[in-house]
Structure formats: C-alpha cells, structure tokens
Amino acid sequence: MSGARSDRERGPLLLGVRHHGPGSARAVRAALDAAAPRVVLIEGPPEADALVPLAADEDMRPPVALLAHVVDEPGRSAFWPLAEFSPEWVAIRWALDHGVPARFIDLPAAHTLAWGDGDSPREKEEERREERKEEQKEKQKEGEQEEAEKKEEKESGEEERRRDGEGPERNQESSPAVEVTEAAVRIDPLAVLAETAGYDDPERWWEDVVEHRAGARGDPFAPFAVLEEAMGALREAYGVGGHDRDLVREAYMRLQIRAAQRECGDDVAVVCGAWHVPALRRKTTVGADRALLKGLPKVKPDLTWVPWTHRRLSRVSGYGAGIDSPGWYGHLFSAPDRPVERWMTKVARLLREEDQGVSSAHVIEAVRLADTLAAMRGRPLPGLTETTDAVRAVMCEGSDVPLSLVRDRLVVGDVLGEVPESAPAVPLQRDLARLQRRLRMKPEALERELELDLRKETDAGRSRLLHRLRLLGVSWGEPSASRGSTGTFRETWRLRWEPELSVRVAEAGVWGTTVLAAATARAEADAVSAPSLADVTALSERCLLAELPEALPVVMRVLADRAALDADVGHLAQALPALVRSLRYGDVRGTDTHALTGVAEGLAERIFVGLPPACASLDAEAAEEMRRHVDAVHGAVGLLAETLTTSPAGSPSSGGSPPSGGSPSPGGSSPSSGSPSSGRADPSVGIRHRWHSVLRVLTARDMVPGVVRGRTVRLLLDDGELAQDEAARLMGLVLSPGTAPGDAAAWIEGFVGGGSGGGMLLVHDERLLGLVDAWLTGVPAEAFTDVLPLLRRTFSAYEAGVRRTLGELLRRGPRAAGSTEATASGMPGFAPGLDLGRADAVLPVLSLLLGLDESDDVTDLDDLVEAAR
C-alpha cells in the first residue's frame, strides 16, 4: 500500500477497476476524494467528451449508455452502458461535481467502429441477436439454483470482453459483436487469479476479495495498488492474453495521459479496467506509441446518450454488460450500511406486496441463516448466493416460485434510465429519416390517405416501415379498411405525423439503432411479456406484416409454449385463426412460414384433443361461445389444410411436430418426417380428417350442448362428410319427443342458425324443413314460449327472400301421407300447392265466428282465400 502513495508522487493516479463493480465504484470515489486530481481521464471513446456535461443534467438518470454509431449507418454501433454503480459513472459525476474536466481516453470510436469492418454490419447484428436469443434460452432452462453463480461468472467475461479491442474500448460490454467462442480462447485474468486463490468461481473470488472488502477503512489507494500488482504479474505471464488490440488502445491511452500530464502535471486520475493499468504504467516512447496508431481504419462516428435498463445490463451478450444482478449491485452500492439486512427487508417488502406472509421474524432468521452460510462457506460477507439460499429456505418455504419474483424484481430490477432531451438524436431517428427519404414518405402533420399495392417494391417497403413503426409504438400510420378491393395485395393507411411521435422514436431508441433491429427486439420482448395467448398470436401476425423474420422464431417459441400450457380450449381456438391468417399473408408476401406452419399444426392438434371434454356441460352463453370457437376452428382448419397442400410436398414442417418446425429446409426431405404415422401421408388430408373425426365425436355426445351439436352436424354436412340422410336422421333424433324443447331449439339454431346460409338449406331440403315443422307443431304450449326466442333468433337472421320462400313452403302444409305424389324415398315434404281441402274445412267455423250468412258469404270467403293465395 505504500506503493500507491509513492506511485502517486511519481505519475498519474491509475485507478484500475472492474467495470460495473460496486466495490470498485466506491473505491474510485474514495480515491478521487483523497487525491483531488485536476483532471479525470476515463476509459471510453474520446468523441464523447462533449457529451460529458450532460451527465450532470438533472434529467439524466442511470442506467444510460454511450452509443457510438457510424454516421448514416446506424446498424454499426457500439454501446458503453453505465449504471449508477459503474466506477466510470462515479468518476464522471465526481469530476462534474468538483468542476474538474473529465475526458475519455480510449481509442476513438472512429477506429473501433471501423475495426468491426471485417464482417458486414448486417451480419454482426444477426450474430448479436442470435447470441441474445441463445442466452435467453439458456436463462430459461437454467435451474434457479445456480442462477446467480452461473451467470455471474460471465461478468468476469466482461473483463475479457473489454479487452478485446473490437469494441470500443470499454470493456464493459462494449463490443456487441464479440463472439463467445472467440473470447474463450483469451485468458480471463480474473479466472486466473481466482484459480490461483483456490476459487472455482472467479466472480465469487472477486466479490470476496474486492467488493466486500472495499468498504474497509484505510488507505483509499490500497485496493488499487494490490490489484495493479496482481494484474502486473498476470500480464507478465500472459502478455496481452490474446487481446491484441489492447496494445493499440493502450498506446493511445498513454498518449492521452501524457497530454493531460503536460497540462496538469501529475494531478491526473485515470479510471480504466484493471487489466490496462500495468500497460499504462509502462514507460514507452511517444514514437513507439504513435507508430502503433498509424494507419488505423477510420469511419465517421456519431455519439449520443441513450437510456438503458437494468434488464439490458443483465444480458450477457448483445448490448448487455453481462451483469447478472444489476439490482443487487445497485443495492450494494447505494446501501449506506448493513447491506444484507437492508436487502432482506427489501425482499420481505416485495413478498408482502405479493401477499406472501413474511414477518420481521422471517427477516431476522433469513439474515442469520445467510450469515451462518457465509461463515460456513468461508466468505467474509454473505453474497448474493447466500442471501438467495436464505430467502428460499426461510421466506419462500423452499419454493423457487416466489424466488423467481425476487430475482426478477430485485436482483435484476426494473430500473429504467433517462436521458435529457438535449442529448443528440439517436441513430434510430436517423435511420427513420433515411428510410423516409428512400421511400419518399414525408412526415406531414396533415392527415392523408395512402393506398399501397404490395406487389410493388416501394409500396411493400412503405408498408413494412409503417408496420414496424406501429410495433415500436410510433403510430404514424393507422391501417384503415381498403376502399373497394379487399384483396390481400392492397393496404390503405391513414398517415399523420404528430410532434410527439419524435419523442416516441427517441424512446424506441433503446430497442436498437435501426428500425428493423428495434422492431425485432421490441417484438421479441413483447412476445415474452404478452399476457395472453391471443396477444402472442396477434403479435405473430404483426411480425409477418412488418416482415421481421428474425423475431418470428422467438414469437413462435413463446406461442408454442403458451399454447402448450394453456388449458382453455377457447384461448387456443381464438389463437388458431389468427395464426392461419398469418400463414396466408406470409404466402402472399413470400415470407418463409414453415415455422409458423408447424406451430399452427401443433395448435390445431391440441384443440382437437381438448375440444370434446371442453364442450361438456356448458350453459347457454358458454355454449354459444363454444359454437363460435368451433366455427372459427373449422374455418382455420380449412385454410390450414389448403396451405399445407400448396406448400411444397416435402416440406418437413408438415410432418414435423410443432417444436421441430424450427428449422425446416424447404424442399428437403427430412428423415424424421420420412416415416409419418399412418394416415399422415398427405398432411392436409390428415388434418382435415382428424378435425372431422373430432366433429363426429361431438355430434354424438349428449353432454355437448345442442347448439354445438347442431353446428357440428351442419359443418360435416357442408363438407360432404355426412350424407343428407344421416343428417336428417340426427335431426330427427334430436327433435324427437325425448329431447327437451329448449335443447332441440338450440340444436336447430346451431344447425341452420345465423348467417350460415342455413335458410337456403331448409329451402332446398324440404325434408329437413318438414322435420322442423313437425317438431314445432308438436311443442307443448308451455314449452313454446321458452323456445320462441331461440327460434326467432334463428330465423329472423335469414334474408327476406329466404324467409318468404320458407313461409310459402310452410303455408302449403305437409304433403298428405300416402299421397301419390310422394317421392320415391317417401320422405316427408310439402305439397306442391295449397291444400284447398284443408283450407275449406275451416270455412264453416270462420263464418260462424264472423256471423256471416251462409248463402252468399261463401263466395266472400273464397275471395278471402284467393287473396291469401
């Protein structure tokens, strides 16, 4: 520790930190307070110097990130996230509070962004997304138990990531495009140190040795001196450890430090990754450093602050900083004392809010258990692992369910950063402006209508842009019903640019730097957090419209998962039609929808299994709803079967189970689907066939409400799956006296009701009409008033023409039994004309009632009959 002091006299104050380490942040603050330097130099892109004062803005709230991107190419970008507990942020704030200049001294973003050139930005983005996805998946799978430890070790990865020079310097995260595998071959200094110390987990080692001790009183420079020594030994042993670009960055940093020294003497403090400290300490010649910097590629960068979230900090790759527990770190940093006690109290409060009975006694016991655990594990203070174990055993009764809530709300946390309005425009805005120029769509405050023909390239692009913006919450255009043509090739939009939309765009900046990337990220996030299955389905539809193929796998995955766990057939039935519609749209737009097909098939399968039990014992309202579901599913199955037929025959998704729909190779014959079980040879036939057998099951079950049964008979009849005779038999069965009149009326409603064209069926099949007629006349008087509303609902929906025809048929009365004109099959029906004999039979009574004279009034009555006719 004496070393630090003496160094201090000899040169700049070098503060080696771990990015995002709360202990480091405290130590930096203490060291800066003690040393009071005249300038603070921070590892970060120097182009951002102008942005530093914004950090003092009262509207600026961490977590935020410095964003650098190539001008006009927002897709190539890098982020330097800063949380409240990041040492760099602490250093910036310290400098601003003390009126001392703060400067970034890492290699300019102009070079670091250009370095990434090897791969096209497009690829990078994909890779990034890929990684992020992987990571999410992993996270889901990972047992909660290891949660903390496991993920945390990645944080040490942060060190290495920082080192890789590809990203801007900053370690932290910084370089979005770093591949994990690549990083693996590089040495991880923390891991080496931890291993030397006998720890298997570098993260835990760091916590024990640095974070939990940083609060100790004493020389504020001591921790840095010790760390520097350790890093020095490591660098002697490993050189740059595979991080070749570090040499260049360090050369640049040395030059910058020298420049600052010329200005302020040795009153210079440098905050940088601990790994760099030995290199910055080394004496080299200016010439040698300059030589290293010669001929670096260059691009024109643009920098700004963007708001960040704790959740994004916790992502290991992509834009994240790889911190698994930002909430916990934030707590460690901000808690004035007794961090474990305070943490347990926070946890207890959260659980109480969620109606878990957690008393102060629980808190006390949890703290005791955590302390004892730490002692047993030989750690100086309980870490996140110990506190989590204690919370699980004491407050959560051993269950991981409430624990995941704690993890989500506290360990990660919902903190959302804010950036003042004066911050420069985010790249998303530029990307949008560029797209608007290219597609010749000017933002205008005046509302106007836009007709798009999706077969045209430009129009399709416009439609995509508008759909993507809508996903991002920027509702510049609202879709409206197309005038005239309703074809899938046409879209009509009402456009109106309102000033607050600019704010929305700025807000959407967190999601990505281009409209495409942001919409994709947003869709994925929405899918994961969507409340219901139908929402996810709707989202998948929007993803197709907005052409976000990369978001689809995530959305589909969520959809399949939700469908698997949703026990309500109604929800599934609601989801299916939208999904199938998406498939159709996908076809129109030439999107690859194999994944979707698989999911749709799986969904249909689940409905088939669940529908019969779900139809049992429903009340009238539920039955009506179920009828709508049956209708919807029927339509969807029809469409789906069509889609399956039109898609290439060998399409694997058609034979694959929903989960395997992930990676279909069009046209390829996948071996697994090579041997589908019997009856699946043609998927379209298979699915229709299975649906029909489900319908048949429904028709025969007495437990199923009449309206649903009637509907299923009708659907089968329309599909030609049920012969007319059979339908008539079923109808006769239902309308026989054994059935309650209410149920029979419901059956009729299901069979011929609504706008289903049932009227025409009755018109053309007199036999059916005859059955209805016979039943109706047989309904007892007391039951008649009950069935009347149902019947009225059924028949009043018919078109006037149909009603009239039916009325005329009925007026003729039933065909006389045994009449010679009876058709060969002997089916009941209606007489070809009025039965005059029967009409005449009432005449005497009528005249009696009317008090008419028998003699001449007969003719009047005949007139009456004529008139009626």
């Binding site: 047993m376 698997a564 189970s657």
Partner: protein
C-alpha cells in the same frame, strides 16, 4: 412411503453396509447410519479442527463433507451419502447450526429420510431419536406418555413418565427426527410449536418442564405433492427452514436408479430374469421426466403436467409391474405394451384433466418420435 429409493445413495447402501464392521450392529438387517459409517465419522471427528456448535460431534463443515463426500487430509475417503446440489446440504447443515428446525420437503424417493438420518448421525452421533408420523400418531409420541402401572402404583412422578424421542433429544441436546410430518393430524403437529419456539416442554401434571439444552434441534421430513396430507399450520411453518430435495437431475441417473432398484425388487419377488429391459425403462423414465418437468427432453416443446407426482418410485413400480406382466403373461421380454397400462395409471389420476394432458402428450410428442411407434400404439390401445 411404499417404495423408498435413495437415488443419491445408489452406490452407497448395499456395498457399504456389507462391509461395515461394527460391534453389535453387524447382525442388523440395516444398521443405523452412525454404525455403518462409524469409521468415517471417527476420521472426520479426529481431523476436524473447526469450531463445533455446542454438543455437536462435528463442525458444520465436517457434517457437509460427511454427506457430500471428499478426501480428508490424511487420505481417508469419505463416501458421498447424498449426490445432489451442494447448496442443499449446506443450507440444511447451516439451519441445524442455528436454532431453527429443518424441514426437508420432496416427492417420494428423493432421499429425504436418508438425508435426515445421516444429518442426525453426523451432528449428534445418534439417528434413533425418531418419531414416525402417521395418521394415528398421538400427542404422546411427541410429548410424553405414562407408564400406567407406575402411575397407578405410585402416583404421577418423573418415574412414571415415558419420554418421547423429542423429549429425550431436548434433555440431552441431541437431534430429533420427525418423519412424514404432514401425515400427523394437525392438532398433534401443533404440539411442536411450543417445543420449537419456546424450546421447552411443559409437564403440567407434575408442575415441571423439560427445557431444551443447547444442541437440540429437529429435522422433519414431509411429502410436498402427496394428496390427503395435513397442511402445516403457518405458525408451525414459520418455525422451520425449508429445503426442497430435488428429483434426480439427469435422465441417466434416474434410469440407473430405476433399473437398479427394479432388479433388487425383481430378485426379492423371484420374478424370472427379463433381459434387455433397459430400453423400455429408459422410455418409462423419459415419459415420467417429460411430463413431470412439463417440457420434452430436447427442451423444445412445453407440456402440461398431470396432477400425479410421477416420482421415481412410481416409475419403479410401473417397470416392476411390466416385468411381472412380461414374465408371466408375455414372452419374457419387457415390451411397450407391458408398461403402457402402468404408465396410464400413473399419469391419469384425475380422469378429466389428466386424460387430456396424456392425449396431448401422445399426439404431440409420442406420435412423432422416432422408434416410439410401438409405444404409441400400445398407449393408444389402453387409453382408448
């Protein structure tokens, strides 16, 4: 618990017990843990230089080592008694070192009893202070009873009192064990509240009390998915730290446990040896695991979980059953048809909801799986 498997001890029990040489216990069919592993406990105690809580035979660290296995500085090998997450054992041991009682939860066959016995053996050197919980467990089993001959002859006195294991543990500062806590009627359970919170057991008949001395603690085990149990009152729950023992982590481990155990049972039931059952066992274990975890083995499809426990113990009985079918009525080879009915019975506990879940599973997963056609057909047959 009808079938008790100690997954973790897969390699331990049979062999270890056979080799154990402890005076007096050698004849026992199943020696107590502290006898069977006396040598290991002694070695640990001899080398344990860490602080020990009052009346503990070993330090908490040494207890954890005893359960999880390891090698001592002098080369003594400690066999693992529990193979599972280290965290669980650490939390359990730490709990005993505080004055909170420990509740081990888990489905049948997760080694709850096994862990509790070894914990008691390592901490107190005695695993016999045991109360077996049943629906008929009376209050006397937890507090104290009376020797009625004494009581009538001499009136109430400490001599006439018959202490329960819990009472003895309190008086001597030992670890008491309560098995199947949730099977004990609720009113009897609640007698534990005073013991655990006040650490005292009043004897109103004598106007006395027994106060727990340092070192006393209690380990309870309970089944968390069994039906018809008496839920713990929240007052009692609060006195426990809860540790949930997980099911075997990997499919291979579970297949191993099942086949081992099936073989043992088969031998004791004199079932004819059935060769080549391993594929079918793997299939049964896969089905059980998938339905239990609610996700397919490849992690790609989510599933609904049925209401049954689908524990390893049930998988064992399904396979045993299948073997008996194959041996007596089949061709001597364990086939899909022999286990299908057993699986159906284990999965479909609630005829309405579970049947749908099972059919979904059949249609969405089994039908599409390569090489499972025979199984699919067999299941369709029995489920129809």
């Amino acid at each position: 618990m009808s079938v008790s498997v100690e997954p973790t001890s897969a390699e331990a029990p049979a062999e270890e017990f056979a080799g154990a040489t402890v005076e007096g216990a050698a004849e026992a069919l199943r020696p107590h843990a502290e006898h069977a592993f006396a040598a290991e406990l002694d070695a640990l105690a001899a080398q344990d230089d860490r602080p020990r809580p009052a009346r503990w035979r070993l330090s908490p660290w040494a207890v954890a080592t005893y359960l999880l296995g390891g090698t001592l500085p002098d080369g003594t090998v400690i066999t693992p008694k529990y193979v599972g997450p280290r965290r669980i054992v650490e939390v359990a041991v730490t709990t005993l070192a505080t004055d909170r009682a420990l509740l081990l939860l888990g489905v049948p066959g997760t080694a709850k009893t096994w862990v509790s016995e070894h914990l008691a053996a390592a901490v107190s050197g005695d695993s016999t202070l045991l109360v077996q919980g049943t629906a008929g467990t009376p209050e006397e089993a937890i507090r104290y009873g009376w020797n009625y001959a004494q009581l009538l002859a001499h009136g109430p006195s400490r001599d006439a009192l018959v202490p329960s294991p819990v009472m003895r543990a309190m008086a001597e500062g030992m670890t008491a064990r309560v098995e199947e806590l949730t099977r004990i009627p609720a009113d009897v359970q609640d007698t534990l509240i005073t013991i655990l919170s006040e650490k005292t057991l009043p004897i109103p008949e004598l106007g006395q009390e027994v106060q727990a001395v340092r070192g006393f603690n209690l380990i309870a085990t309970a089944n968390d998915r069994d039906r018809g149990v008496n839920e713990l009152s929240s007052a009692l729950r609060r006195r426990f730290n809860t540790v949930v023992l997980p099911l075997p982590e990997s499919a291979d481990a579970e297949v191993d446990i099942v086949s081992r155990r099936v073989e043992q049972i088969g031998r004791s039931l004199d079932l004819p040896a059935v060769p080549d059952g391993i594929d079918e066992i793997r299939r049964v274990v896969t089905v059980f695991r998938e339905l239990r975890d609610g996700v397919t083995a490849d992690g790609r499809t989510k599933l609904k979980s049925p209401s049954g426990t689908l524990s390893t113990a049930e998988a064992i009985s399904v396979v045993t059953n299948g073997l008996a079918l194959a041996a007596h009525f089949g061709d001597g080879v364990l086939r899909a048809g022999d286990v299908a009915a057993g699986i159906l019975g284990a999965v479909v506990r609630d005829p309405a909801a579970d049947r749908v879940i099972w059919q979904e599973y059949l249609e969405a997963v089994v039908r599409e799986r390569d090489g499972w056609k025979d199984f699919y057909r067999a299941c369709r047959e029995v489920s129809a």
